[in-house]
Amino acid sequence: MRRLGLYVGAALVTLVVAMALVSLFWTPYDPTLVVAGQRLQGPSAAHWLGTDAMGIDNFSRILVGAQTTIVVGVVSVGIAAVIGVPLGMLAGQARGWVDEVVMRITDIAYAFPALLLAILLAARFGASPVTAMTAIGLATIPSFARITRAGTLQVMRTDFVLAARASGIRWPGISLRHVLPNIAPLIGVQASVTFALAILAEAALSFLGLSTAAIVPTWGKMLRDAQTVMFNAPLQAVWPGLAIAAAVLGFNLLGDGLRDLLDPRLREVS
């Protein structure tokens, strides 16, 4: 019972990843194939989740949509972690004015949630998956920086780090040898939770027409399409919504489950 969340989360994440992988090689139908004669069909043996307003198989679109979800999540989290983690370690080890400057920058960044930053970038550089991923990545740097800083401060207080510093090891060595391995679980938890946030942000951007090109199926884009026909074909809105919710739930549960697993050492920090 205690680890139920972790298992459900891991299962859902595996499912989404599996969908993305499978769709690379196989989908029941071509997810871009427009068939004029079979618009907005309900679920059937031939089309498990029916077809959309253009006659495209919904199940195939959902499968391919998982690809975008995974890619956007990985790239966004990657950007946030690659910049945020070193920043947090720097702030946590240098202390003093460096710490102050880094923390104030993250303060400012809190006024720019992923979606607002993405809209700003889309206005200037045009809407594309790249601006979306960049914006989500940049906007989530502060949370990585803060969690890393908190973890670093805790590690720096431990005896083995004091011993290492006393024996003359400089801070880059301490960072790599002591701090990073000890805060890695913390970053893993943050990555999982941020992944969920990235999925939601990307879905919202797609829904607003600010992320992907028209041709690539994404879950958010499917919901955008579904909204235009929602009065005639309400089921259209159900499948992509469920897919997004399942993916977000999966990564959130996985993150929480990991955090509980690492307890009690890390609870105060996060």
């Binding site: 104030r104 400012i108 006024a111 720019f112 607002l116 879905a203 919901l223 309400p234 399942a246």
Partner: protein, 319 residues
């Protein structure tokens, strides 16, 4: 007084954040002058045309000058003029602020009103099925995109049951009842996700209170569990929850942008999105600055509220 030092420091952080945010927004939208003219003229414009328009718009002046001009204007409530229509950005924003304000305010209030009792229950009953159910529902609520919740709510309550309007907005002064009816679904869809997130914070804040000695003291003098939490837990939990609500505001605000789109509400969000699709950077710049400044202002006010909630900041320790 520690409170003065605290307030001074917070005020400085607020001011620095405002300057930083405005510089960032300006850098993204206006720092490179050539592109603005290019966007307005569209592809295929000649270099001469671009340069002429750039000069006409005054964009050939140094960025520093234009930045200071923009900031100086905003201090007087002037957010510049649209590159396309020449309309005043503040004039465009003014009638829309109320729409977004109502939406955000009610969504925040509703989510707190739901999350507080549910989160307290989840904390108190964390070992029984009620607590588990509350946590599980919160997890599900967090996974639901607000715009999907909006679509589902419209399908059920507007299309299916025909209780409420599916979209649109009526100003409060025109017809208060209709105004309220048009806000119910947008506010609810926005509040679902927010309250789910808040429930988790409320729960962990109150779990902490439950392990505190002063809670045990309250029980020992005869308070029953729930009244003890209300009487002695609320203020203490508020110390950590107030920050969360402040931070949540940013996500409610961006959530409102999407929700306004779903319900065709004439708020700042729909204005921002139409400006983005036209690439009217001056409007984008103005609206984003307004939103970012609101978030920073609220978080500053949240910081101030500490001084009111926490007596340790207000009064000097005498020992």
């Amino acid at each position: 007084m520690p409170v003065l030092a605290f307030l001074g420091r917070r005020l400085a952080i607020f001011a620095i954040s405002l300057v930083g945010a405005s510089m960032l927004i300006f850098a993204v939208c206006s720092a490179l002058p050539g592109e603005v003219a290019e966007i307005i003229l569209g592809e295929g414009a000649s270099q001469a045309q671009i340069e002429a328009l750039t000069a006409e718009l005054g964009l050939d002046r140094p960025p520093v000058v234009r930045y200071l001009e923009w900031v100086g204007g905003m201090l007087h409530g002037d957010f510049g003029v649209s590159y396309f229509t020449g309309q005043s950005v503040s004039g465009l924003m003014a009638p829309r602020i109320a729409v977004t304000l109502w939406l955000v305010l009610f969504a925040l209030l509703l989510s707190v009103a739901v999350a507080l009792p549910v989160g307290m229950l989840a904390a108190m009953k964390r070992r029984s099925w009620q607590g588990f159910a509350a946590t599980a529902v919160a997890q599900l609520g967090m996974a639901v995109p607000a715009f999907w919740a909006a679509i589902v709510l419209v399908l059920v309550f507007a299309v299916g049951l025909r209780w409420l309007p599916a979209n649109g907005y009526i100003p409060l002064t025109t017809d208060p009842v209709s105004w309220a009816a048009h806000l119910v679904l947008p506010v609810t869809s926005l509040a679902i996700v927010q309250s789910a997130v808040l429930v988790r914070y409320v729960r962990s804040a109150f779990i902490e209170v439950l392990s505190e000695d002063y809670y045990r003291t309250a029980r020992a003098v005869g308070w029953r569990p729930f009244p003890a939490l209300l009487r002695h837990g609320l203020r203490n939990a508020a110390l950590s929850l107030v920050t969360v609500v402040g931070l949540q505001l940013a996500s409610v605000l961006v959530g409102a942008i999407v929700i306004e789109q779903v319900f065709a509400l004439p708020g700042l969000g729909s204005q921002l999105l139409s400006a983005v699709s036209q690439r009217d950077l001056m409007i984008v710049q103005g609206v984003v600055m307004f939103l970012a400044a609101s978030v920073l202002l609220i978080n500053f006010l949240v910081d101030l509220s500490y001084a009111w909630i926490d007596p340790r900041l207000r009064t000097e320790a005498e020992r």
